[in-house]
Symmetry: C2
């Protein structure tokens, strides 16, 4: 290909008036940044502009003044105000021509989804001469790369705005394209950690993290969880994966190893469903303060129905007795937020639903309802198996939001399920 420049720096340029009106949150910029970081490409700026060719041209000028690569999202739809492709093509001095494969693909898409194709959609198959076109199996908007031309060997990659299309096309088409351009393959693996805080993980792995250059080790944290992204660069996917595995083995040898609950398991709830499948176990949930969140996240996982029977959301004491058979005396004597109630909830749901494992959560999620003995943030997580019941007490800060307290409670419930065997 003509005059290709090596890609070291990038800018992400999102196009869409709906972004500037605040009607949608720019998740594309975060996704693309994460991906480019894994590819070792330094992102130095995000910009979002409206559907306005003048502004877009101005933004391209500013971006290419510093970046080797500009990735745009949005403005590739069929309507008159979708002008990203035309504007970028003009910027590179490229003419537009009909791209037959894309036209066929768009026709096939409309046939498949039973919708009517309009003349406007044909416009979506016009491509700048010499463009690298990435197939889009998820919509009608094109994805493409333009390299060189009047723009001094630099590269523009254009992706559609809807996150469902953008993320899939990037993973399937653009990432391999960029790896090829870099002449190296990058593989990343995510190490999932629960029960150890971010700073404790960083302290433990300080030397490893600062000295490692290939693979690199980078931490990031979610509510109650820490993840390490291990990224290796090599000639082949296999050897890069092996290098990652070697580093993960090193991490397992440290104190952090005890807290690893999986590699590339996606989420805690994914890990739980995988654990249940693997061990041929079934689960039922009994929730008070989490109000259905534990079950909801389990059922986010497609294919959970073999291992998840269901559960009860028992928000009142009366319902705890009716549905789960929690003893009236237990509630009277120890209260709804207690070790004893958590244990009876977990046992009750396990027995009544006939599952192998019952897990429960009862606590004070706030913002009100706390007392001196059980302040906001106090949560008991119970687990019941044929071996009996165990309860974990959480004392989260009462300064935390209701949402945070519920999310961390659910995370602990999953962690206890994973450790129940």
């Amino acid at each position: 290909m003509e005059n290709e420049k090596q890609i070291q720096t990038a800018e992400i340029l999102c196009v869409g008036t709906e972004l500037l009106l605040g009607d949608i949150v720019n998740t594309n910029a975060a996704y693309l940044s994460q991906q480019l970081a894994e590819l070792g490409i330094h992102v130095y700026r995000h910009t979002a502009v409206g559907d306005n060719p003048e502004r877009l041209k101005h933004a391209l000028d500013a971006a290419f003044a510093e970046a080797d690569l500009v990735i745009t999202s949005g403005g590739l739809g069929p309507t008159y105000d979708d002008l990203t492709k035309e504007t970028v093509a003009a910027y590179f001095g490229k003419k537009m021509e009909m791209h037959k494969d894309s036209l066929e693909a768009i026709r096939a898409y409309f046939e498949r989804t039973g919708r009517v194709m309009t003349k406007n959609n044909e416009k979506q198959a016009l491509m700048p001469e010499g463009a690298v076109v990435f197939p889009n199996h998820y919509g009608t908007a094109p994805s493409l790369a333009i390299v060189g031309g009047e723009n001094n060997g630099k590269t523009a990659i254009m992706l559609p705005g809807p996150p469902g299309e953008l993320t899939r096309i990037f993973a399937e088409e653009v990432r391999p394209y960029l790896e090829k351009r870099r002449g190296a393959v990058l593989v990343s693996k995510n190490v999932h950690i629960f029960g150890m805080g971010e700073s404790a993980v960083e302290n433990e792995l300080a030397t490893l993290m600062t000295e490692a250059t290939n693979p690199t080790v980078a931490p990031y944290c979610k509510e109650g969880e820490v993840r390490l992204r291990v990224t290796a660069e090599s000639d082949t996917r296999e050897s890069a994966a092996e290098m990652c595995d070697g580093m993960i083995e090193k991490i397992r040898q440290t104190e952090v190893g005890k807290y690893i609950y999986g590699v590339d398991v996606g989420t805690l709830e994914n890990a739980v469903v995988e654990f249940l499948h693997k061990n041929k176990l079934t689960l039922a949930t009994a929730e008070s303060c989490t109000g259905g969140l534990i079950a909801k996240r389990i059922t986010d996982v497609a294919g959970c129905s073999d291992v998840f029977f269901g559960g009860c959301v028992t928000y009142t004491n009366d319902v705890k007795e009716r549905l789960l058979g929690v003893k009236h005396e237990t509630l009277e004597k120890y209260g709804a937020v207690s070790k004893e109630t958590a244990a009876e909830m977990a046992r009750g749901v396990r027995e009544r639903l006939g599952a192998d494992i019952g897990v429960s959560a009862t606590g004070v999620a706030g913002p009100t309802g706390g007392t001196a003995e059980t302040p906001v943030g106090t949560v008991f997580i119970g687990i019941s198996t044929e071996k009996g019941e165990t309860v974990r007490k959480l004392s989260l800060s009462s300064m935390r939001s209701r949402e945070y307290i519920r999310i961390v409670s659910a995370a602990n419930a999953y962690d206890m399920v994973l450790k129940s065997r």
Copy 2:
């Protein structure tokens, strides 16, 4: 105040390397954009840069080349790489000086939260001379405005990065400040619509929406819901609110009026909890395909415990029988995804939990599990009251994601509860 320029255009400038690494999603830009749109201030660009004073200075240059106002978020923390305040002050040619009220407030914050204040936190109380300082009751980072100086009457407003702090300080302090600067008060009201699509709403209100200039009417949509933001500008909050009410009354007179379920009710689940409180009714949920989502969202609403008893997540047929008393014959004859099962689930949970209203959802959320008769996207929503049972059938596109199908199912459940009286 010296040399204040009228504010018509703005840029949002977010500072933080974690944005460029993709570790966090930039929700601040969307929130601020929405707020500024309501204030009639035109946002023409978002930019995100790392914690790097040179880049920040460059971004300020580019922003002030066009904008009257730049709002920054992030880079106001206590550590060495938090340099937003210092960089913007230098840009305006202002010296830093200790701001006693802020220092006191930071000390008080540490006392209140029982944490130890370090020397670094004192740095957070240094302010550019002449700055307008907005109190922060939610953290230690300052919020401030600088106007004029060497920057030709333009304005910079700096806000902390954590969304919990940024949104509250904006609502309490910055919005009134900007209203004052504009010499007018803006009031926005959100009209919540369910059961009518976005384009149908726009068609119906086309004339109203294009002709209205004060109040303005702007639509935006969420999964299964449409909202209209009505914004009026006037001298006082009261008269602006009255103007909004007048416009909302006009909207109620149209076909759209039938589908309005509330004004400024936040979310559907908020509207449900309010509806239950107002009518002194109680609710119980029975969920199959939604897997706890309906209950989870109800219990997102603090204070729901007076009106929400709880519910059952009955993912298997066996559990539908055990927990809800759905008849074995019903499941055999009509299947789990049927009008009949939805009705029995709703009645079962209402009776067994002793609530006034039972609501149920059973369907095929996909991606697999569909058949010719009940394809992916088929969902039955049942409602049971003392008057009997009603069931609504949804036929959502099988191209939709599992997540979408579940969210729209929950939305329909809430809608049916709101219409149950």
